[in-house]
Point group: C2
């Protein structure tokens, strides 16, 4: 018997068949390749039913299905808002998958919820009931576990920490992303670098090798490794923002752990000590002493493991 965990992203979907202990028995990935709306849904249900058929009556027959979606999951309606999949503004994914799989239990949640659940199951938040996965990639969001339940909020939009206000005054350019995400997401790192280069025409370092519009966070981290002073300025600014955000999460939630994950941690993993130092200045002192701040143990696989955990908990009748 086995679990099927599916991690849908903006460009691909990962399908993992795993044991109840999280051992991966089979994993494959499908590219979305510019599919939209119902075509994405059909591709996913098609792969699910194929896997069910393939494993039927085998040792690893699929018993339960969990799905991680890149956006917001409306738990009552069973619908998905996924900004990077065209036509998934209010997509009835639960209904569609249930129609395809019949009796098999299916449960869906957002990628940020799945990341913290994956870390709780098999990663660095094992045993925690109050923990936060702070995901810093192209954008910024958080999966928040409160007393062992995912924090949903009144309309499933909780954890939108990229919108955290961290620096006065308000500037129009924050409006599209939120202040924290504007500065300190993957895109934010590139934006800060471009802003710096625009304001410092005298700068002739590493980051001038490319046209301004082509600079990525990857370029900034490479230049940082070379002690380039523009890159140092940008990364130091991000450390300030990451530290303030971590502090605010600690002061509000008093969690046992904060897990730093997403594409940027990765390269920013070695900055965690500096982030903790910055956070310690700002946060509630008792909570700051009690929290552990760690990198993701599962990195890119936190979401797929989390979707497996959803499937497992649903089977045990205690899903959030």
């Amino acid at each position: 018997m086995s679990l099927l965990g599916i991690d849908i992203g903006g460009t691909k979907a990962a399908f993992a068949v795993m044991s109840n202990e999280g051992k991966i028995l089979h994993k494959d990935t499908l590219l979305l390749e510019k599919r939209k709306g119902k075509k994405v849904g059909a591709m996913i249900t098609g792969r699910i039913t194929a896997l069910i058929e393939k494993l039927r009556n085998s040792e690893s027959q699929i018993e339960s299905i969990g799905i991680s979606v890149p956006g917001i999951y409306h738990v009552k309606a069973g619908t998905v808002w996924a900004p990077n999949i065209q036509g998934w503004e209010d997509y009835p994914l639960l209904h569609e998958v249930k129609a395809a799989v019949g009796e098999l239990p299916v449960v869906i949640d957002s990628d940020r919820a799945c990341c913290i659940l994956g870390e709780k199951w098999l990663g660095n938040a094992r045993g925690c009931r109050d923990a936060v996965f702070l995901s810093v990639g192209t954008g910024i969001g958080a999966g928040i576990l409160v007393n062992d339940k995912i924090l949903r909020g009144s309309h499933d939009v909780a954890g939108a920490v990229g919108w955290m206000a961290l620096d006065r005054p308000f500037l129009e350019k924050f409006r599209k992303y939120g202040c924290f995400e504007y500065h300190a997401s993957g895109e934010g790192i590139a934006r800060l670098a471009r802003d710096y280069l625009n304001e410092h025409k005298e700068y002739k370092g590493e980051l001038r090798r490319k046209p301004l519009s082509g600079i990525t966070s990857h370029d900034v981290f490479s230049a940082y490794e070379e002690s380039d002073h523009a890159a140092i300025y940008v990364i130091q600014t991000c450390i300030d923002f990451w530290g303030m955000a971590v502090a605010n999460i600690v002061s509000m939630f008093n969690p046992e752990k904060i897990i730093l994950g997403g594409g940027i941690f990765g390269p920013a993993q070695k900055l965690i000590n500096s982030i903790c130092e910055e956070a310690a200045k700002w946060g509630q002192p008792v909570s700051m002493k009690l929290v552990n701040i760690e990198a993701s143990a599962l990195s890119g696989d936190a979401g797929v493991y989390g979707s497996g955990y959803l499937a497992l908990k649903n089977l045990e009748g205690s899903a959030d």
Copy 2:
């Protein structure tokens, strides 16, 4: 049959006997008058047992007791940390009250938890499962209801929103209070006014009538009413901070309501529209559209009603 709700503050304790519908049948207040440690405990248990005796076998016999404490309540240990009561660093209040009242059910929680519970029961958060009471008085804290349960965190310290980081860079003077509380608590308003007067020797307005050290938030609000420009600067700064803090709470929790209470709202109640405008710039746009931001309906009584609600829920066997 009735409930006994007790709201312990730093200078006094209010005792209210109320019906299961929250109708106050009897209320009185005792001053702590510089009592410390066990003497405060003895005064409170003495009054509780006297009220129990007085009402025994009457229509309003006390059935259940709830207590609000000014600080942190450690729910597993049954102990209280109350910074404004000397000797209550880790005070075994639950044990002491239980020893005095025998079989009667007793439940304790922090003042901020009680404030949101009071508003949920009888005030502006009626019917809400996800709501926040942002208390701005001498200090700043929040009582946070997540899916109808009080957010405690891993060590009962959650909701310490006065420590929110809202303005870079970190300054040493934030270390004692937190950045938000430094600027925008009752004490913060007075601090900002003193800072302004120190930096603007040419200012000769309303706020010069008193020695600098004597200025209170009350003075600042009075001068604001008179359109004094120093007071306008201070209050506008606070509106910015209150708006950013509200936005951050909305982005993180996606609540149905935020209730603004504590001694400052009060005089700041008429500023709520301006605070909402500031918050709308910063917060996650979907959550910002869905939230209602309102003044406390119970003002100074939110805590005592909340302690009554604790007593009621405990009786019904479903206390948090």
